[in-house]
C-alpha cells in the first residue's frame, strides 16, 4: 500500500536527522537536523491518519508544527546570544565546563 512509501521516507528523514544532530558541529545545522526529525514525525502521523481514517493524527501534526515553531524561536535566540558573546556558533567551542 501507498502508506509504506511514506513510512520509508519518514524513517529515512529520521535517520538523516539523527545523523545530522550527532555529526554536525554548527548549532544552526543541528537545529535544522532536529527539524528534519520533526518533519519525519509529521509525515508518519499524517500517513497513519490517512491509512486508518483517524483525524487525530492530523491534529497531532498541527500541534507539533506549532510547538516546533516555538522551540526554534527559543533555539535561534540562544544561538544569537552565543554568537554575540563569542563570535562563533560552533558547538565544539562550547567547552567551558568539563569533567
Amino acid at each position: 500500500m501507498l502508506v509504506n512509501q511514506f513510512l520509508f521516507l519518514a524513517a529515512l528523514l529520521f535517520c538523516i536527522g539523527v545523523y545530522g544532530v550527532i555529526a554536525r558541529k554548527n548549532a544552526v545545522l543541528v537545529l535544522m537536523s532536529i527539524e528534519l526529525i520533526l518533519n519525519a514525525v509529521n509525515l508518519n502521523f499524517v500517513a497513519f491518519a490517512l491509512r486508518n481514517g483517524n483525524a487525530d493524527g492530523h491534529t497531532f501534526a498541527l500541534y507539533i508544527i506549532a510547538i516546533a515553531a516555538a522551540e526554534v524561536g527559543v533555539g535561534l535566540g540562544l544561538v544569537l546570544l552565543i554568537f554575540r558573546n563569542r563570535r562563533t556558533i560552533s558547538l565544539d567551542d562550547l567547552s567551558e565546563m568539563k569533567g
Binding site: A27, I37, A40, F45, L50, G75, N85
Partner: protein, 506 residues
C-alpha cells in the same frame, strides 16, 4: 481523504469541564498572566512585588489541590479520559507546587541581586511549573507532549538566564539541543504508537497491545523510542551528557529546580506511560529499565567521586539518585509488584525533592559568602556557620540514606519492591543498588569532612548572612526531610494513595 474523515465526524458536542479539577491550572495560568502584566507597570525599585505574586500564585493553586485531595469523588476524568485528575496526579501536583514555592524562595534574593531583568524570570518559572502540573494529569500522547514542551521550553531559557555569562549560555544551549532532540525522538516513537493503536489515548494504547495480534514490532519500536526520549529528560545514563554542564552553568536556584522538579516531571510522564499504556508490554521495557537503572546509578556515583565543584558533584549525585527511582521500574511489570513499585517511585520522588532542594538552599546560602563553587571553600564551615553546617549534614545524610532521615524510607521502599518481586534480576539489581548506596557515601562524606574537620581556607570567619526567604526554604525542606524520616508512614501514605486510573484495574 481528509474530507471524508471530517464528513464522517459526528456533530461537535461541547465537552463537560470540571472546573474544580482544573482550578489549580486555571489559578496558575491567571497568575502567570498577572505576573507578566505586573512586570510592565512596576518600576525597578518595586520589582520585588513580582516574586511575592509568584509565591502567592503557587500557594493559591495549592488550595484547590488540597480540596481535591479531600473531596469525595477521587477520579475526575475529562475530555474522554485525556485529562484525568486522580490521587496520583493530586499528590504529584502538590509536590510540584511546593517544590516550585521553595524554588521561588531560593530565587528571591538571588535574582534581586543579579544584574538581569526580574519579571521574565518569574513568568518563565511559573509557566514551567504549570507545564509540570499539567503533566501529572495527562493521559493522552498529545497532552503529554504539550505538557512536556510547556515545562521544557521555559526551562531552556531559565538555564541560559545569565545572558552575558558564557557558562550560562553554554548551559542553556546544551540543555536546549539535547532536550529538543529528545522530544523529537520521543515524538517519532509516539507516531509509531499512534500507527499501531490508531489512537492517542493511553488507555487505548494499552488495549491495542492486549488485543488480538498483540504486541507488534511497531509497538515495541515506539515504546523504545518514547522511553529513550524520557531517559534524556530524567538524565539517565547514557543520555545524561547535558546534565552536569547545564547544572553547573545555570543559576543555582534553577539548578535546584531542574534537578528536582523537571526530573520528577520526566518520571511522572514515564510512570504514567508505563503503568497506563504499556503494562502488558513489560517484556519490552523491563530489561531496558534494568540496564538504565544500573548504568545511571553506577556511572553517576563513580564520576561524582572525583568532582571538586560542589554543584557539579550534586549534578552527578542527582543523576545517580535518578537511578534509584528507576530501580523498582525494572520489575514493575509483574502484577504483584506493580503497586509497590509505583509507591516506591512516588515516595522516592517526594523525599528526594525535599532533601535535594534543601541541599541546594544550603549551597546558595554558603556561596553568598564564599562566592565559590569549589568543595574546598566549604572548609571549616561548622566553625563559623554551625547552623548551616548541621543542616547540610542532615541533607547529605538523607541523600546517602542514613536511617533517621528522609532518604532511607525512599531507598527502603525501592529495595522492598525489588525484593518482593522474587526474581533473580530483582535481587541482582538490589545488590547493585546496595553497593551504590555505600559508594555514594564516599562523596557525601567528603563534603561533611570538609565542613567539620578542615580549617577555614582563607581564615575569613565572618558569619554567613541568611536572608529570610532562604531561611524559610531551609525550614520547609528540613522539616519535610525529618518528618519523612522519623514518621515514614507519612511518605508511604502519600505513596499508597497515589493510584493511577487505568493501572491495576482502576
Amino acid at each position: 481523504m481528509i474530507h471524508s474523515v471530517i464528513a464522517a465526524a459526528t456533530e461537535w458536542v461541547s465537552p463537560q469541564v470540571d472546573y474544580h479539577a482544573l482550578a489549580p491550572e486555571i489559578i496558575l495560568a491567571t497568575g502567570l498572566c498577572v505576573v507578566l502584566l505586573a512586570d510592565l507597570f512596576l518600576d525597578e525599585s518595586r520589582k520585588w512585588i513580582i516574586s511575592s505574586l509568584t509565591g502567592f500564585t503557587l500557594l493559591g493553586a495549592m488550595l484547590p489541590v488540597l480540596t481535591l485531595g479531600l473531596s469525595e469523588s477521587s477520579v475526575r476524568s475529562m475530555f474522554d479520559g485525556r485529562y484525568v485528575v486522580d490521587e496520583f496526579s493530586v499528590v504529584m501536583k502538590a509536590m510540584f507546587l511546593i517544590a516550585g514555592y521553595v524554588v521561588v524562595l531560593l530565587s528571591t534574593k538571588h535574582v534581586e541581586e543579579d544584574e538581569y531583568w526580574q519579571g521574565e524570570y518569574w513568568f518563565l518559572l511559573l509557566s514551567s511549573i504549570l507545564g509540570m502540573v499539567m503533566m501529572t494529569s495527562s493521559r493522552d500522547l498529545v497532552s503529554i507532549f504539550v505538557a512536556l514542551e510547556f515545562l521544557s521550553i521555559p526551562a531552556y531559557m531559565l538555564a541560559a538566564w545569565r545572558k552575558r555569562d558564557i557558562k550560562s549560555n553554554e548551559a542553556g544551549m546544551k540543555y536546549f539541543l539535547l532536550g529538543v532532540f529528545a522530544s523529537a525522538v520521543m515524538l517519532y516513537g509516539m507516531s509509531l504508537l499512534f500507527g499501531a493503536a490508531n489512537s492517542t489515548l493511553l488507555v487505548d494504547l494499552g488495549k491495542s497491545i492486549t488485543a488480538t495480534g498483540g504486541l507488534s514490532a511497531l509497538h515495541a519500536l515506539g515504546i523504545v523510542f518514547v522511553i529513550v526520549g524520557f531517559a534524556f529528560k530524567v538524565s539517565a545514563v547514557p543520555f545524561h551528557s547535558w546534565a552536569p554542564d547545564t547544572y553547573e552553568g545555570a543559576p543555582s536556584p534553577i539548578t535546584a529546580f531542574l534537578s528536582v522538579a523537571s526530573k520528577a516531571a520526566g518520571f511522572v510522564a514515564l510512570v504514567t506511560l508505563l503503568f497506563v499504556a504499556f503494562p502488558q508490554a513489560s517484556g519490552v521495557w523491563q530489561p531496558f529499565m534494568w540496564v538504565l537503572s544500573v548504568l545511571t546509578m553506577t556511572v553517576g556515583n563513580v564520576v561524582a567521586l572525583r568532582q571538586t565543584n560542589i554543584v557539579r558533584m550534586m549534578a552527578y549525585s542527582s543523576i545517580s539518585q535518578g537511578g534509584f527511582v528507576l530501580m523498582p521500574l525494572a520489575v514493575a511489570g509483574m502484577s504483584e509488584v506493580s503497586a509497590s513499585a509505583l509507591r516506591s517511585v512516588v515516595v522516592y520522588m517526594l523525599v528526594y525533592a525535599a532533601t535535594n532542594l534543601g541541599m541546594f538552599a544550603v549551597i546558595i546560602a554558603v556561596s553568598r559568602k564564599t562566592r565559590s563553587g569549589e568543595i574546598s571553600s566549604w572548609g571549616g564551615l561548622f566553625s563559623y556557620a554551625p547552623g548551616l553546617a548541621t543542616l547540610a549534614t542532615i541533607f547529605l545524610a538523607s541523600l546517602a540514606g542514613i536511617p533517621p532521615l528522609g532518604g532511607w524510607i525512599g531507598k527502603f521502599t525501592a529495595f522492598q519492591s525489588l525484593l518482593s518481586s522474587g526474581s533473580g534480576w530483582g535481587y541482582a539489581l538490589a545488590l547493585i543498588g546496595a553497593v551504590n548506596s555505600v559508594v555514594a557515601f564516599g562523596y557525601y562524606g567528603t563534603i561533611m569532612r570538609e565542613m567539620w574537620m578542615k580549617p577555614v581556607p582563607d581564615g575569613d570567619t565572618t558569619r554567613v548572612v541568611v536572608p529570610g526567604s532562604l531561611a524559610l526554604a531551609l525550614g520547609i525542606t528540613c522539616v519535610a526531610t525529618l518528618v519523612f524520616g522519623v514518621l515514614p508512614g507519612v511518605a508511604t501514605h502519600f505513596g499508597d494513595i497515589a493510584r493511577i486510573t487505568g493501572a491495576f484495574g482502576g
